[in-house]
Amino acid sequence: MNGAGWRERWRDYWRPREIIDTSPVVADEVKPTTCYMCAGRCGIKVHLKNGSIRYIEGNKAHPVNRGVICGKGAAGIMQHYSPAKLRKPLLRVGERGSGEFREIEWDEALATGVEWLSRIRADDPKKLAFFTGRDQSQSLTGFWATQFGTPNFAAHGGFCSVNMAAAGMYTLGGSFWEFGEPDWEHAKLVLMFGVAEDHDSNPIKIHLSAMKRRGAKSISINPVRTGYSAIADEWIGIRPGTDGLLALSLVHELLRTDRIDLDYLARYTNAAWLVIQAPGEAEDGLFARDGDGNPLVLDRRGNPANALAADAALRMIGEARLADGRKATPVFQLIAERYLEAQYAPEAVAATCGVPAARIRDLAAELGHVAFDEAIELAVPWTDWAGRRHETMLGRPVGMHAMRGISAHSNGFQTCRALHLLQLLLGTIDVPGGWRYKAPHPKPCPPGPKPAGKPGQVEAGKPLGGAPLGYPMGPDDLIVDTEGNPQRIDKAFSWEAPIAAHGLMHMVVHNAWVGDPYKIDTLFMYMANMAWNSAMNTAETMRMLTDKEPDGSYKIPRIIYSDAFYSEMVAYADLILPDTTYLERWDAISILDRPIGSPNGPCDSIRQPVLAPDRDVRPFQDVLIELGARLGLPAFVNPDGAPRYPGGYRDYLTYHERAPGVGPLAGWRGQDGASHGKGAPNPDQLQRYIDNGCFWKLELAPEQRYFKHANRAYLENAVALGLIGNPEPIVLQLYVEPLQRFRLAGQGHGAVQPPERLRARIATHFDPLPIWYPPFEGARVDTEAFPLNAVTQRPMPMYHSWHSHNAWLRQIFGANRLFINRVTANSLGLQDDDWVWVSSHSGRIKAQLKLMDGVNPQTVWTWNAIGKRSGAWNLGQGSPEFSRGFLLNHLIAETLPGDAAAAEGNADPITGQAAWYDLRVRVERAPVEEAAESAPHFAPLARPPSLIRVPEILRYGNQFR
């Protein structure tokens, strides 16, 4: 038989060519909006076909993600069509925590809310605690709280990254992540500290890869070698909580080897400012000032002179004799004296950090080498604040980025300050190749405004006398009464957390339950899973939410909650206001809050409804505005009492003015849309955003792109745009005087005094120059009993608890393991897949082990928020999130071990940031007879009436065939 001929005939007979439509129409409509699968705010284009989502892609024109999309963003379809979506307002009928509700109409829901809230407002507005989670409408929610009159408002920053935000704002007038980023384009070396696979999601990925392609180098300093650390050119597996000590050792080395940019320090920082040296006196450690309040420097002849004068000649070393006879020393001299001390030498810190001394010395040498020997110069002339023209822009190409691994420690504020000190000594702030501000930053430094909420600023039936969150400049700005007692339910801006710039959401449930500093009436929350992964001490938090007074009433009398999904927190609320998905509402990434600004110019953005809700839910922002109108909050009603924004958030975004010409969105203002930054409301503004892909971006001229803190053209432009109030240069604060004011109070000076139990805590930690101290928990517990650090990371394809109900993402991470160093495990007799009990001073959990090499030997870690409460999120029985997933939160206490009566918060003593990365544990093999499942477990939550039944097979996409 002729084989070939037979085969061909056979093939042609059996295999008619498959007809493939290689050019299908992919969508009948494409709508741009902004992603919300994490806080990264990437631009997306949603492709719709026959009324459902065909696919979601990145918007190539968008300044944040430039067309890419991440593992979460591309799974947005499954978020939108999730069966965990709430479908109708709910009123609790069973016990709190049971999940038993009845459905109600919106009229009843709103009337109920108004009844509860109006009584509070008429009586004592602070009895409302309004806290929002990872929502991006804080310029609205904060404004609403102010109008309501309660100081008890904050979002999730207190357990996220307030340490970084506050340290940055007091030092630089900007901060890592949201208010600044490495100069990815020009940096030759980028250091990443504690970047736990999280923010800034896509930009970091885009730029790390581009850096590698052009031969630049990245070094990741992180206890765990995954994600970004995996592709870093070098990985330094530091012990958690010791980054600040490493940074100060690098400072030591740079000073020792004289690898510092003294000219930069003189021009742009307070390095030469004179600090009063009068130990024991009330002004010790404050800046020496002249009669007009100007800080002073040592001039050419060694006399005090105005530090703010242009061309002031100044010295960095020396001693001044002030007019009143007191001595004063330049900041730089204090820095040099302190950090040249042997305690910061690499040999002295190596064991604590888990980084060899030689490695530290080499890293310092490399920093100095790149900053000074490989300096770059952009041929871009610019003019500084004093009118002096510079022909080029000199750059020190060392960029830095830091994130949660720095922030979530009790030494996080000072650690972040240490990183900024390092950046400043190298002269790398807002220079080519260094670290750049994202507009609208830099802001004046130290920052403003101050928080409101003092006694007298809270009045029945009236708005609060200012915004509830702000930046205290000293003890006088604390929100305390004359006895020094906290006035906010979270005790923010009290002696327990003086610079709590983002509030302390993590303390609200605890304090409201105790009734300390007072009882509240209603806890109103949005998008914050406080009954599960957003709380420390989760089991106790659930108990507090359900605990009752002797008369049978709940200790926290009322809880209103808004969420789009059946999260654990829903079961613990009394009234549920179901929210939409991110594809069903208007939203603004507002210039008044935390916009998507880029180093090359200000940007902000919106979400638009891409689809109409198919169930009886409303966007939370619309609901809040309607509640505001029904409550008669002044800014939400017209003089005749009619709602000021009858079209809800859409109207608010368009017509609200915070100051004349300044609204939530900066683009296309003015009646004709020709103004940017400031301008009258433009009725077509939102359409202009949509036409532009739902974002606004203003490119700064090249001469304005660096040295923004001292760049005349930039500063004047920023004033014109309404980003800052005046064009004065922003002097970067190596030495932070407001911290010294608190410290002086701790030492007994001044009228506003800390309580005795906190006096030493204040006096020790409010050092105006960066310090390092061991994380509190490790310093308080028996480290032989709890020898290991325990931290979490967020997996790149998941974001907190948001994604366990996402049919695709939960296939990637349906259960988490406890990762441990192989050598450490071997020494403990533990093996891969072992079930272990993990104990801390306050609790224990059971988890399954996974051995790895790329983790610091003294550290165990896991993925964050994978474990779920049975019954939540509309997941079926036996789901791995319940049976094998687990939370570390159960091991983390709100307070430090010790005397319960005088309990100190498990928090940074400066900002109150939750110190959930301070956790210390021990790991022991679970008895083999125990079930192979995680612990603890809680009774399954009931299923609310309206949740849809989940399909056994999901055939998404069949409709497009």
Binding site: W14, E18, T22, S23, P24, V25, K49, R54, Y55, V68, I69, C70, G71, K72, G73, I206, L208, R225, T226, G227, S229, A230, I231, E234, R256, T257, D258, D263, L265, A266, R267, V297, R300, A309, L314, R315, M316, G318, E337, R359, R361, D362, M796, P797, L809, R810, Q811, G814, G876, Q877, G878, S879, V950, P951, E952, L954, R955, G957, F960, R961
Partner: protein, 255 residues
């Protein structure tokens, strides 16, 4: 049992080049692939028990993470895995019905669902585990290289690439004609020493993997050597206490 096409001289070999040097394991390629293909040529890509125990679904692209090496030279590798569109594709030759086939014009390996009998021989034959059986429809499915994107006149030209390539945040994925030595992807493979996956099996995969450029250990050694050269030891620094400040005393600076 099914023939591979006789390669045309100069014929296209479309495929992917995946750069392991920059892959951070974010799974964007995996979910973007799932998203596009759920509604695309092979729609749907079903998910079984999607909200319960034992959830699993059809994915054309999966990412694996593992560690490699020991000590300072060790690294974490993120490894995306999908059909390699082999030149000697055993999954094709093993197919009893001709459903599994390799296109002559561009080398893409596809399954004709109309005549697939779901016998799974191809998935047994594929050493890369790249085939995905749709139990719901009873047919085998797999990466199509987004055949409904790459020739799609309804997309703008620069979007006519597979979904995984379009989304990759680290640009770790590249698409092109590996049969054309002048193509960008072929040059990338030549310059970076692109590798076949398990070449010893002889299936001649079209897709290539670019190896990580550096190991941490090598870099550390290089950095240490460079640091030794650049580490300055200024004389003034040797002093103790206040003497160390002397070198800055006479520095007169201006604001």
């Amino acid at each position: 049992m099914t023939d591979l096409p006789i390669p045309a001289p100069g014929g296209k070999k479309l495929g992917l080049v995946i750069d392991l040097d920059v892959c951070v394991g974010c799974h964007a390629c995996a979910t973007a692939c799932k998203e596009w293909n759920s509604g695309g040529h092979s729609a749907p890509l079903p998910d079984f028990s999607p909200y319960g125990e034992g959830a699993w679904g059809v994915w054309f692209n999966r990412v694996h993470s593992f560690e490699e090496g020991d000590g300072v030279g060790a690294r974490t590798v993120h490894f995306p895995r999908s059909c390699l569109h082999c030149e000697d594709a055993a999954c094709v030759t093993v197919c009893p019905t001709g459903a599994s086939y390799k296109r002559a014009e561009d080398g893409i390996v596809l399954v004709n669902a109309e005549i697939c009998i779901g016998c799974k021989l191809c998935s047994w034959a594929c050493p890369y585990g790249a085939r995905e059986f749709d139990e719901d429809a009873g047919v085998m499915k797999k990466c199509t290289l987004c055949i409904d994107r790459i020739y799609n006149d309804n997309l703008v030209e620069d979007e006519r690439v597979p979904a995984c390539v379009m989304v990759c945040p680290t640009s770790a994925r590249h698409f092109g004609d590996l049969g054309d030595p002048n193509s960008a992807v072929a040059e990338m493979v030549a310059v970076r020493g692109g590798k076949d996956l398990m070449p010893e099996l002889g299936y001649r995969p079209v897709n290539k993997y670019l190896p990580p450029r550096h190991l941490h250990g090598e870099n550390l050694a290089a950095a240490a050597a460079a640091a030794a050269v650049r580490r300055p030891e200024p004389a003034a620094a040797a002093g103790a206490g206040d003497n160390r400040l002397l070198r800055w005393v006479d520095r007169l600076l201006s604001r």
